[in-house]
């Protein structure tokens, strides 16, 4: 039997040199006349040790990382293929505190299996959710998802079960399942990791959604910045058809479901659900006014379930283990687990799945290990470009939709981006306005014109021109955008801007905030 060697094929690991590592490993093995089988697994999700090379031994998998291409020769000479000790050896990866302390429901297989092996998928618990869904039937599936407490992971946190029920109650015949894989928020990569590292799970989730609401076709709309995810989903769909997860008679049942991949084209606003539907229809990504809801009139005017990747990927677990297994995790109205993404200037950057309720401080300082630069943390942006900047004084905020809202912030897609004390918060506020100006779909004035004005006014503040007057102007402008915008691009851009001004006034030429001073 040949030796199994795991070298992640995920985009982040490849960006760090994993392809070259795999290539050199193959050459070194050939030199020694060894037969090795290199499996391109997904990433386990701790990027400070990627590329993580794992060797299958009698004692389980032994990891080495980070292994850069130039390290490979010496590592092999030191006995890598025997799992020998070495400075880069991290032992059994699952024993590392970063992994051991997680509750991986959605990411249970990620980094462990071969993402494109359907047999691996089934051997590690895949297809159980579909099997139980078929026993339950459509009505009970919707009830199960509702009872699990699952809320949309794309940002708005709307109960998934209610959305499905609305679509289930519409009359067909044509309905659609659309998976929102636009993941445009900076600091987020969980959707990408699901698609690259466990694509069948998303397909299974979409098939279950189709059966539940009476839809026979689905699309996954993936941003063009994710070429690896596009390829992984396309390949997995072909396999899923061959193995009966897609196509006529899903899983041997009487239900049909098939799906296709569509690729975005570099527009952030196309992550907004109605803009995404327009784009899928082959139009400009202009946001639609609601109502009608996509659940009633969605893609091509048909009833449509549109859900984030993580929402749909949570479904197989919920069906397989029962709604209570999921619902019993979490706090308040935030049930289950959240794949939190630790990003930016953070030591242990990566994917950390955990029940809701962990505090922001624990996430940043304990799990994340503080900044990567070793300097003090100054600000943390939670929820992507439309999310607020929090100072360390708010680190006691628990990760929960309502708790973040109470502090004028949002969880969004659970990206946590850390900045050290070199950050200039006026610059960050300016960027938020600039990004809104670049990405605005142009439909409403407060967003389109307001954001451009915002950049100008912040530039004046930076230059020290009529500072107080311009600060009042920025606050007014933010209010106009907040209440006069059709969607959250214009409506939420005030979050990063106002939070920067509120918590870091000294960067805008105002006296230091009391919150920070009290610390």
């Amino acid at each position: 039997m040949s030796l199994h060697v795991y070298v992640p094929g995920d985009m982040n690991s490849v960006a760090l040199g994993a392809d070259e590592v795999a290539g050199t490993l193959a050459i070194e093995a050939a030199k020694r006349s060894m037969t090795i089988e290199i499996v391109r697994n997904g990433s386990r999700g701790l990027f400070s040790i990627e590329p993580l090379v794992e060797i299958e031994t009698a004692n389980g998998r032994i990891g080495y990382g980070p292994v850069f291409p130039e390290d490979v020769k010496a590592l092999v000479a030191a006995g890598l293929f025997d799992g020998a000790p070495h400075a880069l050896c991290v032992g059994k990866p699952e024993e590392l505190p970063f992994f051991k302390s997680q509750t991986r429901l959605t990411f249970a297989r990620n980094g462990i299996t071969d993402p494109q092996s359907f047999d691996d998928y089934v051997a590690h618990g895949g297809m159980k959710g579909l099997a139980r869904a078929l026993e339950l039937g459509p009505k009970a599936i919707v009830e199960e998802v509702f009872q699990s407490g699952l809320r949309g992971r794309g940002g708005a946190g709307f109960p998934t079960g209610i959305k499905w029920k609305t679509v289930a109650e519409t009359t067909g015949p044509t309905k659609y399942i659309v998976c929102n894989a636009d993941e445009g928020d900076s600091g987020t990569f969980a959707d990408r990791m699901v698609m690259e590292g466990d694509p069948f799970q998303l397909i299974e989730g979409m098939a279950i959604a189709g059966i539940a609401v009476g839809a026979t076709f689905g699309y996954v709309y993936i941003r063009s910045e994710y070429p690896f995810a596009v390829a992984a989903m396309r390949d997995a769909i072909v396999t899923a058809r061959k193995r009966g997860l897609l196509g006529k008679g899903v899983g041997g049942s009487a239900y049909d479901f098939d799906m296709d991949v569509r690729v975005g084209a570099g527009a952030y606003v196309c992550g907004e659900e109605t803009s995404l539907l327009e784009s899928l229809e082959g139009k400009r990504g202009l946001v639609r006014a609601k109502p009608p809801l996509p659940a009633h009139k969605g893609l091509f005017g048909k009833p449509t379930v549109i859900n984030n990747v993580l929402s749909l990927a949570a479904v197989p677990y919920i069906l397989a283990e029962g709604f209570d297994a999921y619902r019993d995790y979490g706090m308040g109205r935030s049930r289950g687990t959240m794949p939190i993404q630790l990003a930016g200037n953070i030591k242990n950057g990566g994917l950390y799945e955990t029940p809701f309720g962990v505090t922001l401080g624990e996430i940043v300082n304990v799990i994340g290990g503080g900044t990567d630069s070793g300097r003090p943390v100054r600000a943390v942006q939670v929820g992507g470009p439309l999310g607020a900047y929090f100072p360390p004084a708010l680190f006691d905020t628990p990760f929960d939709y309502e708790a973040f809202a109470a502090k004028d912030g949002l969880i969004g897609h659970a990206g946590v981006t850390v900045f050290d004390d070199t950050a200039d918060m006026l610059k960050q506020a300016r960027f938020a306005m600039e990004f809104c100006a670049v990405e605005s779909c142009g439909k409403c004035t407060p967003c389109r014109i307001g954001s451009t004005r915002g950049v100008e006014v912040l530039d004046k503040i930076a230059a020290g021109e009529d500072r107080e007057d311009n600060l009042v102007l920025i606050e007014d402008l933010c209010n106009t955008m907040k209440f006069g915008s059709l969607c959250a691009l214009g409506g939420f851009t005030p979050y990063p801007v106002m939070s920067a001004l509120t918590h870091f006034p000294e960067d805008f030429g105002r006296p230091k905030a009391r919150l920070e001073a009290a610390e």
Partner: protein, 158 residues
Amino acid sequence: MSDYSAWSPEKAVEVIAAHADKEGALMPILHALVETFGWVPDEAVPLIAGILNLSRADVHGVLTFYHDFRRHPAPRHVVKLCQAEACQSRGSRALTEHAEQRLGMKIDAHGHGRGEVSLEPIYCLGLCASGPNALIDGRPHARLTPARFDALMAETVR
């Protein structure tokens, strides 16, 4: 570097026809044209409009809405530097200044057509724990430093 075909209306019609039967065919068609030719000339607009039975204005509107659809011949090499927040927190602003100096051009969303190299912004590649990041001729690169950037450019532009 990608090997693109020279623009030809005949070939374009083939590419368009191959996707014309899809639901919402316009986006897949524009992507396919960019994959084939590296860009979508204005000349393609009436061809697409004719086959899909849309107005030229509709096609033009979509073509110009999305950042990805290049409207000038592609440069030989495309460097897309991430400009989003998580990369900012890891030094992307300084790296961008360095890249602008090294390449002798400003970073520009509309790209630098026809030339040898184009320096363009991209907003997040989903590699946010190991920035600053770039996509160089479609390949991802993480943890860039000025020195690493120069080394990659030396390999890319010979």
